[in-house]
């Protein structure tokens, strides 16, 4: 196993997200971290739901409109309703999905629940996003990288500090897939919440979480899509990305969301 140690005494983003989404697969440290973050930023609960909804809309778009039948979903999180393969396979049952995460609790749930009993093929890789070589090698066992694929990096790149070269990571992933492939990103943003709140969240993550969070500006998020065409409406708040008519959009989440197509 290459993943992090099994340590539930320090908060982990995947389990914190589970708590925010109303799940019960989280531990005291995760809830304490969320409760502290909610003090700093009460909009966090909305942001989590908006992010999950963005994932759903993006995967639906990628499957139904962009015709993607292969997904590499990095930063899976603890399985809940509306996982990528469920959304995609409802539209196209033959869709193949490879999940990647590095939290041992996610590993336990994903191996048991995401991999089995599905019509289309799914697989799970226990790896850190930084380890792109291994991710691509193992994902290549299920996915055919001579055909277009969708890479989803939902609420994960802000856990990669600049010193770990997030742009290099994304470039290596997208270099491995052919023209016509897609990239979907959501990312904690600067310019979406006030500076003190954002700095409070970043400082808090350094103290209480296994991940250190780095918010990035709209331009910085757009740079992940260099050499790609952004799908309209471009880089917007996650809840505004192809919002469905009548959907509740009025939360003001702190997350940028975008989908782009490789030329």
């Amino acid at each position: 196993m290459s993943g992090t140690e099994f340590d539930t005494s320090v908060a982990h983003q995947a389990r914190m997200y589970d708590y925010l989404l109303g799940g019960k697969d989280n531990y005291a440290a995760d809830r304490a971290a969320i409760d502290a973050q909610l003090e700093i930023y009460p909009g966090l609960a909305f942001a989590a739901l908006a992010n999950r909804a963005f994932l759903g809309r993006a995967v639906r778009y990628l499957t139904a409109e962009a015709g993607m039948r292969q997904f590499l979903d990095i930063g899976t999180g603890i399985p809940t309703a509306g996982n990528t393969h469920q959304v995609a396979q409802e539209i196209a049952p033959q869709t193949r999905v490879v999940y990647v995460d590095y939290d041992p609790v996610v590993l336990a749930h994903a191996r048991a629940l995401l991999v089995s009993h599905e019509a289309g093929a799914t697989d799970y890789i226990d790896a850190d996003l930084r380890d792109t070589g291994r991710i691509l090698a193992e994902a290549g066992e299920l996915l055919d990288f001579s055909e277009p694929a969708a890479v989803t990096l939902v609420a994960i790149l802000h856990a990669i500090p600049d010193s770990d070269d997030p742009y290099g990571i994304v470039a290596r992933l997208m270099d491995a897939v052919p023209s016509g492939s897609y990239l979907a990103i959501s990312h904690m943003g600067t310019g979406l919440i006030d500076r003190d709140t954002r700095r409070g969240l970043e400082a808090h993550s350094g103290r209480m979480m296994q991940q250190r969070l780095t918010a990035r500006s709209r331009e910085q998020v757009a740079r992940f899509f260099d050499g790609m065409d952004l799908v309209p409406p471009g880089v917007v708040r996650v809840e505004e990305w192809r919002r469905e008519p009548g959907a509740d959009g009025g939360g003001g989440s702190a997350l940028w969301g975008a989908v782009g197509r490789k030329r």
Partner: protein
């Protein structure tokens, strides 16, 4: 004293009502931060309708209702500043009886509930009537009551939790989980501890165990996720023929969509199960806590305090991560069967 102007009390009760009455509560009742009791009562009793007519549409699992009413009793007791000992004294019962009542492990008696509500300062007639109606509703006989002569109370509580759970996770180090046992295997296991028991009693116990397996074929079965130590597959309960059939049955069970089976092979040592076998029961309802069930020879321990539960969740998450994947597990069981 708790008045029924107390908003927390109303909201907590509202949860119970909403559950019990399901779709009868119109959407406008939700999302309103403070809702007076009058509004609740009116919404659930439209003119001319029987108060409980909605229950046929949305059957309430008696155990879930007991847990919710028990949780509500606890909240009312705490709000009134009354200790479990004081509450126990009021109804001529022990502190632990109060704990069992509040966690839904025993049935609620109308008289006890009436006395407790009076002690907690609940005086509103309509509210009392509602609460007591729900108490009666929670006492509908369960399917296993016909086995009551062989069924210790502590196991009866388990059956309630098992049939109400939305997810059943277990880690087994000795025996095949009861929900996956064949009749012959169940008989062999039952005989182990009861050499002197009359044949009729053994058969009764076997029938009870097999009746529990009706869970698998009900309309919305719970997710059952069992992790077994390799020893479970290797221990020759009932002889080789019984074991081979049992292993085959496990392979077939693993193919059911709501079932996930995983084995921790001997080769993956150091698994986290110093704890022994245990089961974690999870309920769909947001405010119902997970319950950990630990069976012993003459009784059982139920844990529902989150810090305790988390230690077991951590173990079961860890052994699941160390275990073979479900697909590899099926291959592994086939291999063991061929060697049995």
């Amino acid at each position: 004293m708790v008045g029924f102007g107390d908003y927390r009390v109303e909201m907590a009760l509202l949860c119970v009502w909403q559950y019990a009455f399901g779709c009868l509560v119109p959407a406008r009742g939700r999302g309103v931060p403070v809702l007076g009791l009058e509004a609740v009562v009116t919404t659930v009793e439209p003119d001319g309708e029987q108060p409980f007519s909605g229950l046929d549409d949305a059957p309430v699992e008696a155990t879930v209702l007991r847990m919710m009413l028990g949780g509500q009793l606890r909240r009312l007791r705490e709000a009134a500043g009354i200790t479990p000992d004081q509450a126990g004294f009021e109804i001529r019962a022990s502190r632990s009886k109060i704990s069992r009542l509040e966690t839904g492990r025993v049935g609620l008696k109308s008289r006890d509930v009436k006395d407790l509500l009076a002690l907690y300062g609940v005086t509103d007639e309509r509210l009392l009537a509602k609460f007591l109606s729900l108490v009666r509703q929670s006492n509908t006989p369960d399917w296993w009551t016909k086995y009551s002569d062989i069924l210790p109370g502590w196991f009866e509580a388990y059956l309630g939790f098992e049939s109400a759970a939305s997810t059943i996770r277990s880690f087994e180090i000795q025996f095949v989980p009861g929900l996956f046992q064949t009749e012959d295997y169940a008989r062999a296991v039952t005989r182990l501890g009861r050499k002197a028991a009359p044949a009729g009693e053994i058969e009764e116990r076997v029938r009870l165990r097999l009746s529990r397996q009706a869970l698998h074929t009900r309309p919305a079965p719970p997710r059952i996720w069992s992790v077994m130590d390799e020893a479970v597959l290797r221990r020759g309960v009932g002889g080789a023929a019984v074991m081979r059939a049992q292993l085959q049955h496990l392979i077939e069970s693993a193919a059911m969509p709501h079932v996930t089976l995983q084995v921790v092979p001997f080769s993956r040592g150091g698994h986290a199960a110093e704890s022994g076998s245990f089961t974690v029961l999870r309920f769909e309802e947001n405010d119902l806590p997970d319950v950990v069930y630990l069976e012993q020879l003459t009784g059982a321990i139920y844990l529902d305090q989150r810090p305790d539960v988390e230690q077991y969740l951590e173990v079961v998450d860890q052994v699941s991560g160390e275990a073979l994947t479900p697909d590899a597990t099926t291959d592994f069981i086939e291999q063991v069967a061929s060697e049995t």
